[in-house]
């Protein structure tokens, strides 16, 4: 029998008394927040299988739809319960999850296991999903066999199993990544893909109230949100392409928040004591990619020399106001046990660079270096710094400004190096080094680089069952791609800065996500 003491009873009464007035007189009115972003969506849709730009949709998409396993957006992006309260490994091919009960979806339905069966079945791989989006689904889940509903119970089936065709230790990470969001199966099937892609029905703290592509996205509070009452009655995401206009709008009080703030704007914005610029490094690294077929880059020593010639810290200090870091190669802290400790990018060593160039017989022939006009933060300035650093060791790199990716990758003229960035979509190296530089990654499918050992190791990292062996494979991949036969060189971890009214008490996430859920305003 449960005994209730006097102290427990009194404290219980106190909690009830504190709660009663809220129930009795209703919740206080909430404001509307206007957020200025550079871009709402590149593709004209709000479907994560079509819209994949890390610096656009990732900012707000988590406000609309969620994954079964979440990430701690207030700390270190580690996995946390979201639409599932718990999960466990059954075997190397199977993950079992307990679904959170009573999760209200934006269409008023309660999320069921059937929503997951549909989302990870016909939605990803068939139905009326366009073929290009299905191809993205297959990249996210290359070997998913089925989703099983395991148990019933008073509130309906609550346990599901994700079963893969092949062993895959990254399944939990994939469940926490983009593309694995859960949508209302009934609403999406009724609307059809095209309509649902314009107004997705998810479970997040805000629901889509209206959308004018390239203009504004209107979100309104989803008061049945399982994670608590959203702090804003509505969030208006406005597309403001010009960085200066976003900052001016914030200063004039037109916006409450402005994302995509450049490092060079921070000091100016923070002169206004009502405003603060928050944010920092995100799971995305700026890299320079090599085309090893270019005559000057055939010898890997030239590519390694290009890496040794770069003082990454000077770039971070000079162009990023010191608010990001030179990372430990193409890996991130949130890889957890898979992170290779002690690994670094090639150190800044001009003497070694010169020796490598001399050994390779490089005589100063031009090396075309393709960039886009500030597509990445401070891209033009970074490129100019790189060219000067390369010049110091005798490398004759020539900037070629291109308008778009087709022109950057064009092979009708000699190509040698280009700018790029790599994201880690989930907490395992498969998400980056394999997905971007492995046999099916963009660098190899674009014909820029290949390595037989890398291609032999990639399936071992994707399907390996031994965690220790997988880590050794990853370490070897880093050696290949960053030392022996450089595929790329890592410059710096990208950082995302958001300027915001200080009185909002908002906390930035260590990712692109603008967390406007109750968690984003909780005390640290």
């Amino acid at each position: 029998m449960v005994e209730i003491g006097r102290r427990a009873a009194l404290s219980g009464l106190g909690v009830a008394a504190a709660a009663l007035p809220r129930v009795a007189i209703g919740q206080p009115a909430r404001p509307t927040l206007t957020v200025a972003v550079q871009k709402i969506a590149n593709t004209g849709t709000l479907d994560p299988l079509r819209e994949q730009s890390s610096n656009a949709s990732e900012r707000y998409f988590g406000l609309i739809a969620e994954t079964v396993i979440g990430r701690d957006q207030q700390r270190d992006l580690r996995r946390v319960p979201a639409l599932a309260t718990a999960w466990r490994r059954v075997d190397a091919r199977t993950v079992e999850l307990d679904l959170r009960p009573d999760v209200a979806m934006h269409d008023g339905r309660t999320m069921t296991a059937d929503d997951l069966v549909w989302c990870f079945g016909p939605r990803l791989f068939g139905g009326d999903t366009p073929a290009d989006a299905q191809a993205v689904g297959r990249r996210y889940w290359p070997s998913l066999e089925r989703v099983e509903v395991v148990s019933g119970g008073g509130g309906g089936p609550r346990t599901v199993r994700f079963v893969n065709r092949t062993p895959d230790l990254t399944m939990e990470g994939r469940l926490a990544a983009g593309g694995s969001q859960v949508f209302s199966a009934a609403a999406h099937q009724a609307a059809g893909w095209a309509a649902a892609a314009r107004k997705p029905i998810g479970t997040g703290p805000y629901k889509v109230a209206g959308w004018r592509p390239d203009v504004e996205l209107m979100l309104e509070a989803h008061d049945g949100y399982w994670g608590g009452r959203p702090p804003f009655a509505a969030v208006r995401v406005l597309e403001v392409p010009e960085a200066a206009a976003r900052a001016d709008g914030l200063r004039s009080g037109l916006y409450g928040m402005a994302s995509d703030i450049g490092p060079d704007q921070i000091q100016d914005i923070e002169r206004d004591r009502r405003l603060v610029v928050l944010g920092g490094p995100v799971p995305n690294h700026r890299i320079v990619v090599f085309d090893s077929k270019h005559p000057q880059l055939k010898d890997p020593r030239v590519r390694l020399a290009m890496a040794h010639a770069i003082d990454g810290q000077a770039i971070v200090d000079g162009l990023w106001a010191g608010r990001t870091v030179v990372p430990a190669g193409l890996q991130w802290d949130f890889y957890g046990p898979m992170k290779v400790e002690g690994w670094t990018v090639p150190r800044f060593d001009p003497a070694r660079a010169r020796t490598l160039l001399a050994d390779a017989g490089y005589k100063g022939a031009p090396i075309p270096y393709r960039i886009r006009n500030n597509y990445y933060t401070a891209e033009n300035a970074t490129a100019q710094v790189l060219v000067e650093m390369w010049k110091q060791v005798g490398i004759n790199a020539e900037i070629e400004m291109k308008e778009n990716w087709s022109q950057v990758l064009d092979t009708s003229r000699p190509r040698a190096a280009r700018d790029w960035s790599n994201s880690a979509t989930f907490d395992d190296p498969v998400s980056s080094i394999v997905n971007q530089h492995g046999p099916n990654g963009a660098q190899q499918t674009n014909g820029e680089w290949t390595n037989a050992e890398m291609n032999r190791l990639s399936p071992l990292l994707e399907g390996g069952e031994d965690a220790g062996e997988r880590k050794r494979v990853f370490a070897r991949m880093l050696e290949i791609c960053e030392r022996e036969d450089p595929a790329y060189l890592v410059l710096n971890q990208n950082a995302s800065f958001t300027a915001v009214r200080r009185d909002l008490g908002w906390r930035a996430s260590p990712s692109f996500f603008l967390d406007l859920s109750p968690k984003g305003f909780a005390p640290a």
């Binding site: 994949q52 290009d132 191809a135 206009a245 709008g249 004039s252 990716w405």
Partner: protein, 306 residues
């Protein structure tokens, strides 16, 4: 007269056809819409599927013929970004752009023409020099710089006007002024030059010698003769009503045709780009036609010259 119209219409159709064909070829050859819309990180399989879905895997000439065939029956195609009809996408942006460009045109004409006339009539005076100095400043300062300065002063510092967007009746004020200033400056300079040229003609001296009041000389002889170059410039400005605010729309986050054009070009969303170009070409050609007719009204000699 019928021959005149037929010639103009034929020339206009040829111009529109050339514009559309040129844009089609340039856009098709300078970027792959599949890669630009889906992003460079997209799987090769996704890019191939997208190309197939939109016929981008066909030779360019096949795509062009297909496009012309559809346009001939009034189908301007769909946006590759979201599948919506291009005509509807463009049409829903037109009112927003006209909300800026028509008041801006009024400012250009109502400020630029009188200022130019006044400066010419007071040639060499401090007023003339002040008007011309303002005109030079007006058309040499780029519109994005002027826009940002106006925002800093009137939105950030004074807080009188919104810095952007389309939320209140005050929202168009700054973009309209930004657009209007440059055009008014150009008109002022052209009008002044035209007036000065006309005022130096013998018939003006003759009219003065005959004792015609100066105001009547200006109104009846100088202004109509000086109007032809000014009308030409105004015609060009009317022709630019739909696509003449690209930069200003970006600076002020104004959801008009100009911003849509920028997004569509950068994504090589061809149906949308072509629809906008068709609309702009039609507007420009119509404006030119009207200007040609006005020439005849202003100067009867030009009527007989045709």
């Amino acid at each position: 007269m019928i021959r005149f119209f037929a010639l103009r219409a034929g020339r206009a159709l040829l111009t529109i056809g050339l514009v559309v064909t040129f844009a089609f070829v340039v856009l098709r050859l300078s970027g792959d819409p599949a890669m630009l819309i889906l992003n460079v990180d997209a799987p090769a399989e996704a890019i191939a599927a997208f190309r197939k879905a939109w016929g981008l895997d066909q030779p360019v000439w096949v795509q062009y013929l297909e496009y012309v065939r559809h346009v001939a029956v009034g189908d301007l195609g769909q946006s590759m970004r979201d599948g919506r009809p291009a005509a509807a996408l463009v049409w829903e942006r037109v009112p927003a752009t006209l909300q800026l460009t028509i008041p801006a045109l009024l400012i250009k004409v109502c400020v630029g023409v009188p200022a130019g006339v006044y400066a010419a009539l007071h040639r060499g005076s401090w007023i003339d020099r002040a008007v011309m100095a303002a005109a030079v400043a007006g058309f040499t300062v780029p519109s994005f710089v002027l826009g940002l300065v106006l925002v800093l002063v009137f939105a950030v510092q004074l807080g009188w006007l919104p810095s952007g967007g389309q939320d209140s009746w005050l929202s168009p004020v700054l973009p309209v002024i930004t657009l209007g200033v440059g055009g008014a400056a150009i008109l002022a300079r052209f009008t002044r030059s035209a007036m000065l040229e006309v005022l130096g003609q013998p018939y003006i001296r003759t009219a003065q010698a005959k004792g015609v009041p100066w105001a009547a000389v200006v109104r009846g002889h100088a202004a109509p003769n000086a109007a032809i170059p000014t009308v030409t410039i105004i015609g060009f400005m009317v022709g630019s009503l739909l696509a003449g605010a690209v930069v200003v729309e970006s600076v002020f986050s104004w959801p008009g045709v100009g911003r849509l054009l920028v997004v569509a070009v950068s994504n090589r969303d061809l149906a949308v780009v072509q629809t906008i170009l068709l609309l702009v070409a039609c507007t420009m050609v119509t404006a030119n036609l009207v200007v040609d007719l006005l020439y005849g009204v202003l100067d009867p000699r030009l009527r007989s010259a045709r």
